[in-house]
Amino acid sequence: MVDAGGVWSEQDTTPGVIEEALRQLLREQEARDAAYAPSRVLNLVAIVDREWRGEILNRLERVGRYHPSRTILCAVESGRRTIDATVVITADSQARPGEFSLTRERLVLDLGPRHLESLDTIVDPLVVSDIATLVWSPHGHPEAVDALLGISQVVLVDSVNEPDPASAVARAVQLAERVYVVDLAWLRSTPWRERVAATFDPPQWRPELARIDSVTVRHRPDSCIAGVLFCGWLSSRLGWQPGPLVSANGTLLGRAHGRRQDVELRLVPHPGQSVPGLAGIEIDTASGMKIALDRGPGGLTARRSDRHGKVSTWTVLGASRGEAGILGEGIRQALLRDPAYRRTLERASVMLG
């Protein structure tokens, strides 16, 4: 990122003043150098605790190429009654002759908890009209998210951060009634879902889908919801009717009623895993086939054994995206639509009672 030449700040200010200042900065920049073109893809409104403001800004800097066009960072400071604002215009790079460089606007608003229930009145004048607005509130503040639902189209959540899987699913279901929900816990499982789909894609293996009788998902201890979503996904796609999960020595056990037979579901914590999400998957079928996927160097390590005990192992290639990459993917997904997630949530709700 390079400074495109525009910075403005003011203490005890108002949205109208901020908006006017922003427009002035954009006009000045256009007059200074027309080779800089404002990006117009997505607004991101992030609500964060004031003391973690820098950390969140750093995370947003590291999202790779998936930067929102306009980021409005609302930093909540206990006891604050006024709004301070800083506006910065940055560019991807210096524009080269004959080419253009994209610019983005970053607005940082310091505000207090009293502002959150009416946050829409503060944010609405500041978003770029006619492009999608994504809301992300990594430190809680659900009242702020609720206040913004009327002016946003997408909410970014990370179900892993909710206190427990049941409240995570309940919150996601509630939000999904009104806006499109992008869940980072769901996105972390994308490579796993892709690989399971690929494993059963060849016509000779596809009949095995109807013979699945056991699914074991290992997950980081705080990422149980990732396992629930994975089992919910299989249930919704394969027409299983899952029952409630029950806890036994830290493992969640359950059964789903399939068309041919019941499917045993096991969600097992895996303390050795450092990153949030899934650690491994095992799928067994009634005909004796077993598929296992585990994290490994250079991708996922896949192992298939057939009913005769013949084992085949290979690596499904893919670089780790890291948590910054996952957040970038969440921002990118705000402009796409994945119909599978909502159906997954319905099954997950049943599994969590």
């Binding site: 190429r65 016509p203 893919g318």
Partner: protein, 508 residues
Amino acid sequence: MAIAEQVNPLVEGLERLPVHPTTLAIFGGTGDLAHRKLLPAVYNLAHEGALPERFNLIAIARSDIAHDDYRSMARESISQYSRTPPDEQVLSKLLEQVRYVPGSFDDDSVYARLGEELKQFDDEAGIVFNRVFYLSTAPEFFPLIVSKLGEHGLSDHDDAEVRVVIEKPFGTSLAELRELNPQVLSVFDEKQVFRIDHYLGKETVQNMLAFRFANGLFEPIWNRNYIDYVQITAAEDVGIGRRAGYYDQSGALRDLVQNHMLQLLTLLCMEPPVTFSADDVRDEKVKVLHAIHPPTDETVPNIAVRAQYTAGMAEGKDVPGYLEEEGVPDDSHTETYVALRLEVDNWRWAGVPIYLRTGKRLARKITEIAVQLKPVPHLAFQAEGSVGVQPNQLIMTMQPNEGVSLSLGAKIPGTRMRIRPVNMEFLYGTAFLSQSPEAYERLIMDAMRGDATLFTRDDEVEAQWRICDPILQEWSHEDGPLPTYPAGSAGPEEANRLLSEGQRWRAI
């Protein structure tokens, strides 16, 4: 219906659909294209997790080197040219699945060894991999390799899909094409053949389809009643570099017009396809090509201009003329610039000139399509004191800044009603988060998937040659010196004679 016959229920919502396990065999695996494009593209697909679940690569080339030597070479190519900085673990795992078969393409033992390597991959995995043979060699080897693949029973398999990707140029004349096509089709079915034109793999070119068929705004005016003429420009600011050997045999018409520029023309002029399936899209493109009358000896001078660049200045530096470039014969008649005037003689386009021009060492690098609309029928505005009302112009830019620009007449602020053109501009880069994948990444995946939409069909290539071949034939009979243009200029003066009265070339 049995579940095996149904659509895989697990793919809903997935952006990347499963591709059957595949072994990609690259003939010419040590060549420049493999080095700069193919191997980096394969790595990037691996990095993104987009390759088939199981993937192997076999390189075939003359150098007598071992598997490990080739892996080291591939690692170097990928490290140097990949658009993503390589992840060491992904790269190492990818290279574990790479093998090398040395030998010349006419040597039967090469194909026997290739067959063994393919079978070994299958046996080790306990499955049969699909096979994609990528012919990244000099074109004279295409018939030989295809024929040897057939002789050695490698052109089909009972339990797997076998496909062949053939790089351009697919023939260098109509006669050559008519010889090559039957040779290829005597071994492979047309649905197995993927003739690559990497231009079609560019997002910018595919965006043409979205622009035309996803927007109701333009379709009503997309015809001879509203469009005055069209100019398609593919200008390069660079010279021929070290490619004299290739370029002097090829020239601008074969290098860019016969394939890339005619593809742009077809996408611009085609009727909406019924579906976006490979054959529906290609059927419509072929109809456009068939509607262009092949030039005759008499018409070539009126519709085609060629030229060579002379010494001049580019990017502030003195640069040599084409005949002074290293490796170019002193008496070369190869054109570095070509301009054409074509007409698509059908209901929609009859009477609308479509101008094509391309050249080396022009003023700047740009690829664009300019659609000039007809002027408004009555001018009630003052022309005095302004440039007046100009016809609208719609510009679709492919590179460097992909976008769409529409010129509109607007009132100049003031007390008088004076009009001047202003531009409404849209840049794709401002509206999308994603970076476009390299064309070769898209095309390699499509070939592995069996989707031929972005590849040229046999009748399509033949129709392209039917337009270009008579021009080459006629030029081959002309002995005099070619028209020239100084390096760094907009091209030769002679190109102006193709234009109708009142028309002019857009500034490059």
